[in-house]
Structures are given as C-alpha cells and as structure tokens.
C-alpha cells in the first residue's frame, strides 16, 4: 500500500512540478470564452447598425479586450510548459492570433457603423444582413469549442 501511495505522490509531483499544463488548459478555456465574447460583441454591433444601438456594446468591448490581454499572458505562460506538444502550442497560438485579428476587425466594424441611425439603405439589405447576425454569431464559438473538445479527447486517450 505504501508503494502505491508513494507512486501516486510521485506522479502528482511530476505532473504538478515537472510537467505542468495549467496555463495551457486555462488558455484553452479562456480562448473559448474569448470567442464567445467576440460573438456577442459582433451581435451587438450589427444590432446597432440594423436598429437601436445595444446598451452593452462598450461593456462587451471592454470584456473582449480584457479577455485578449488575459489570454496573451496565458499564452506566454503556456509556451514555457513542456507538456502538450508542438501541435497544441501551434493551435493555441493560432487561435490567439485569430482572436486578436477578429477583435481588430470588430472594432473597425463598430467604428464604421458608429453614426448610423435607422439607415434606410441598410434596411434594403435585409434579410441578407440579418442572416449574417443569426449565422455568424454562433460561428465565433464553434471552432474554439471544437478545439476544446479535441483537447479533451486527446487527454482522455
């Protein structure tokens, strides 16, 4: 029994101290959350363009920015962790970059619709414009969710 306990203790020590993966796991979840916030931000921007401006637009922008900064720090920490393999590092790194690029594009979109107020020309674009809101908002969270599921599968196997 003592040998089994000793083995468990050693395994825990190795997992915690020698091969930590906490930053990587937190980054994975953080990226999924980040893309969810970006999707909500996108939805709020288009809602303002199509009608009344969303009340939580600035709050969503601040949330997205805070998530980006937090995930950047986690990414730096995850790079120092030996576990995970190059594939995961590359995947998480790419997702982080796409998150930043999407945030920049969303801020540009927000800036371009800033002064809109019941634009009659924009209303002519319906329902194509409405389809974008309905279809694209879930797309923000779809790929990171798939990535997260893949990570879970990898850990199980």
């Amino acid at each position: 029994v003592s040998e089994v306990v000793l083995g468990i203790v050693v395994a825990l020590a190795v997992t915690t101290l020698v091969l930590p993966d906490r930053a990587r796991l937190r980054l994975r979840d953080g990226l999924a959350q980040e893309f969810l916030v970006l999707g909500a931000f996108f939805e709020a921007i288009l809602q303002g363009f199509r009608g009344a401006p969303a009340e939580n637009l600035s709050a969503l922008r601040e949330d997205a920015l805070a998530m980006l900064r937090g995930n950047n720090q986690l990414l730096e920490a995850a790079r120092n962790e030996p576990s995970g393999g190059p594939g995961w590092r590359e995947g998480l790194n790419m997702l982080s970059q796409f998150g930043r690029s999407l945030f920049d594009a969303l801020v540009a979109l927000e800036f371009s619709v800033k002064d809109s107020h019941d634009d009659a020309f924009a209303q002519q674009l319906e329902p194509a414009l409405g389809n974008w809101t309905a279809i694209f908002a879930p797309a923000f969270s779809m790929w990171p969710a798939a990535f997260t599921n893949g990570a879970s599968m990898c850990r199980r196997t």
């Binding site: 995961w88 790419m94 796409f98 540009a108 979109l109 619709v113 924009a122 674009l125 779809m142 790929w143």
Partner: protein
C-alpha cells in the same frame, strides 16, 4: 454553415440595391459598403480560424481509409496514432516506409500508398491494392514511380519493399508482390 454562400447572398443583395442608391444619403451608402467589407473580412478570419485550427488538431491529416479494408481502418483508429495526429508530429510521413508518388503531397497521400509500416514494429501492412485509383494509373505507365523514403532514421526499409513497389506497378504484379511480401514478413494479411 456556409460562409461563402452568406457572402454571396449579401453581395447579391448589394447589387440589387446599388441602382437605387441615389435615393439615399452618401453617408448611408458608404457606411453600408464599409460594413460589407468588414463583414467579408470577418468571414475570412472565421474561415481561416476554422481551417487552421482543424489543421492543428489534425483533422486535415486524417488518412481516408476505404471501407473495404477493415484492418487498415482499425489501424488508423488506434489511439496512439490519433494522439500523434493531434500533436502534428508528422505521423503521415513517419509511418510510411514506402510510398508511391501521388498527385497530392505525401502528407495527404495515405489513400494511395501501397505500403504502410506500423510504427511499433517492422511489419508493413499492405493496403489499398484494390483501390489504388487514378493516382496509380500514372505509375502503371511507369511514368511516375518514385519511392519516398520518409521513415524515421531508426527504422529500416527492407530492400525488398523497393522491389515490391516496382512489381506492383503492373496489375499482374500486384498479387505476386503481396505474396512475396507476406512470405518474407514485410506484409501482414489483409484479412485477419
């Protein structure tokens, strides 16, 4: 979800309302065009994130296995191989001891190769002789035969396997090649 289709729908709608644009203010029209451009950029980023993430996870590197080869299907579905696909350590190359040159890159050529060597041992699995398809046609004409030596340094390629690849070019040589490979232990049975 089809991002291309959504982009086309929005562009088609813009084309329809463009001719009526004179009724609206210039600021509204410019704003709509700016929104369209940004939406397309966002769509491109979303699509790229999907593709790149999938590639990182390994979806793009899955070997397509014909349903008629259950032994190969089981081999590809083994957990260790999945793990290495996920980690993108180049399993597609490392496991291929010998392959015929295909039209695609070697990374995606798992469906057209004649031999696949097991990572754990020296046994090679004879795969896809019956489903070599059009990519082997060129090899049959002796135009494109070239072996790919892409196995890791710690694994040895049987010299016989090179001969087998040549023999497998012709239809009549396929069976004999497999018999020789099976008798010499290079190949394992197709059906367990």
């Amino acid at each position: 979800m089809n991002l291309e289709e959504d982009i086309e729908q929005l562009e088609a709608r813009m084309d329809q309302v463009r001719h009526t644009g004179i009724e609206f203010s210039q600021a509204e029209i410019l704003r709509a065009y700016a929104v369209q451009l940004h939406l397309k950029q966002i769509a491109r980023l979303l699509r790229a994130s999907r593709v790149e993430t999938s590639r990182a996870v390994g979806e793009a590197q899955k070997i397509v296995v014909p349903a008629s080869l259950p032994i190969m299907r089981r081999t590809c579905a083994a957990p260790p191989r999945i793990l290495q696909f996920l980690d993108r350590d180049g399993v597609a190359e490392a496991q291929m001891a010998l392959a015929l040159r295909a039209e695609d890159r070697t990374r995606n050529g798992g469906d057209v190769r004649l031999f696949q060597q097991n990572l754990r041992g020296g046994a090679a699995v004879l795969v896809n002789f019956l489903h070599v398809g059009k990519r082997i046609e060129r090899a049959r004409r002796r135009l494109a035969l070239q072996a790919h030596f892409i196995q890791p340094g710690d694994q040895q390629i049987a010299a016989l396997a090179i001969l087998l690849a040549n023999a497998a070019i012709s239809d009549s040589g396929v069976l004999s090649a497999w018999i020789i490979a099976y008798c010499t232990g290079v190949a394992t049975p197709l059906v367990e």
